[in-house]
Amino acid sequence: MPQIVVENLAKTYQVPIRRPGLWGAFTGIAKRSYRQVDALDNISFSIDEGELVGYIGPNGAGKSTTIKIISGILNPDSGRCEIDGRVPWEDRVAHVSQIGVVFGQRTQMWWDLPVIESFDLLRDIYRVDTTEYLKTKDELVERLEIGDLLNVPVRLLSLGQRMRCDLVAALLHRPSILFLDEPTVGLDSVSKLIFREFIREINKERGLSVILTTHDMDDIEALCKRVMVIGKGQILSDGPLSALRNQISPERLLIVDFETEISQLEGIQAAVLENDGHRARLSFNPNQISASELIAQVSALHPVRDLFVENPPIEETIARLYTENKL
């Protein structure tokens, strides 16, 4: 029995049309006309407990609409959704007690007071039993190393520190699902790594389901075995990242550094993207020739000093997916 079930979810927005000019402003006050925007076009998916899913798509694709519906904030026009046996928007209070959310750009903590005050207040808001709370809090504080920050007012924290505190804040009430909305925007590399490691651990150890929406493909690559891609209100792809890559951009790169200068590379089952005499970038399709076979071909031509194999950047894959679907 999956934890999150979404079936034929549909949502259309009525966007008021603004008419330009002075006359338009007056008629606009009297009579409003609308155009329909289909945000979600009958999408369906299910997520099991303990999965770590990436949810990506271009802006306006329907990502935030989906998240708002599953978190219970927004009602869909039609379709079914059940999370832990509840319908999110019908049982808002009960449902949101079991989920945690981290909004990337905005903190949910209270600005002028020390971090610990926000935590204590959240404990009261979520009605967490005191002993449970202390245990959870101490554990998370130690994990994310924010012990020194507890007495610091939120407004004095750096972005990386704030993100760590926001993660703790979102998990104090031991939710069963964690939503992460663009969590690493503006973070320095160290903070990003801390964040990824933490999410990975907590997902594995606690079986906490995680849904990550982001534009940062490094996050996706590092964390998500499963990726859902949404575009124009429809799910374009849902499955392991490797499968997506294989489907959209299967070619890989072989970069070769030669011992001595080489002018021509011929007779190999690969496209030569670049060759400056010392280093060549070759593109090949692993479905047609394996990496080791190609390496053998190249070495036969000329002595090789060093080489490495790369996947094309995931950004390219995703961009290609968008273009193919005319997004």
Partner: protein, 269 residues
């Protein structure tokens, strides 16, 4: 969720708000002083006019000052407690309302607890001082019942003003551009009900008795306390119970608020 737990969380919210504001001690003192000064200046109007004209349709200065004090105390309480609703237009425009919906508490509780604007104590002190002065300047037969009525009227008035702010916030779900109209109703309402409602032309009177029943805060309770006969013919019973209308008004506006939240959750704007 039982009511005691919600009340507890409300007071926790207020505690956080008060402590946040006290972080900026100097600013708080200055703003409170400024607020006190501003509200004192407003009373100067009443003084100047009574100095020139002597009386107002059978009401003298201490009597009107008494009403003025009541209204200002009531308004200051509402003004201090409803900042969350007052600033709701900004919140919904910035998309921050979702942050409240993601929490397992009612939106009313969260908005009501968002801030207890301490500097409004400036207006409270002004109203209180004027009320005490006016009460002393008159020979009132104080009974426990009358004192109770003063408190009842103050809170009924606060509830009424709060109701106006809730309506203002509800409108923001549809349009954030007409907030000024509601603002004029609150501040205008303070000005109007500082004077006996009977001095105005009848259509104006009726608006402030039947449509926006602000006169129930000050006029009717004051009649009962001062023992003045009512030109409109109401009796003591009505006058003692009139603050209930303020509470009823607030309850009604909270229903419209719930309707507004429902609309937001189905259109997602």
């Amino acid at each position: 969720m039982n009511i005691f737990n919600n009340l507890y969380v409300y007071f926790r919210f207020l505690e956080i708000s008060v402590r946040s504001q006290l972080q900026y001690r100097l600013s708080f003192v200055m703003l409170t002083a400024a607020h006190f000064l501003v509200t004192v200046i407003e009373f100067v109007t009443v003084l100047v006019l009574f100095d020139r004209f002597g009386s107002l349709k059978g009401w003298d200065l201490p009597e009107v000052a008494f009403m003025y004090g009541l209204v200002n105390i009531a308004f200051s309480i509402s003004d201090a407690a409803t900042r969350g609703f007052d600033a709701f237009g900004t919140m919904v425009k910035a998309g921050d309302f979702d942050r409240l919906l993601i929490r397992p508490r009612s939106t009313v509780l969260q908005l009501a607890g968002q801030e207890l604007t301490l500097r409004r104590v400036g207006r409270f002190l002004q109203g209180f001082a004027i009320l005490i002065w006016a009460a002393n300047a008159m020979e009132i037969d104080w009974t426990a019942l009358k004192v109770g009525l003063v408190i009842f009227a103050v809170f009924g008035g606060a509830a009424l003003f709060a109701g106006l702010i809730v309506i203002q916030a509800t409108i923001a779900f549809w349009s954030t551009e007409s907030l000024e109209v509601m603002n004029s109703l609150t501040y205008g309402g303070v000005a109007v009900t500082s004077y006996p409602v009977t001095i105005y032309r009848s259509w104006f009177q009726n608006f402030f008795i039947y449509v926006v029943p602000l006169s129930t805060i000050s006029y009717f309770p004051t009649l009962a306390i001062l023992g003045k006969p009512d030109a409109l013919g109401t009796g003591l019973a009505f006058q003692y119970l009139s603050p209930l209308i303020g509470f009823g008004f607030l309850a009604l506006t909270l229903q419209t608020w719930r309707f507004g939240v429902k609309h937001y959750r189905s259109t997602g704007s």
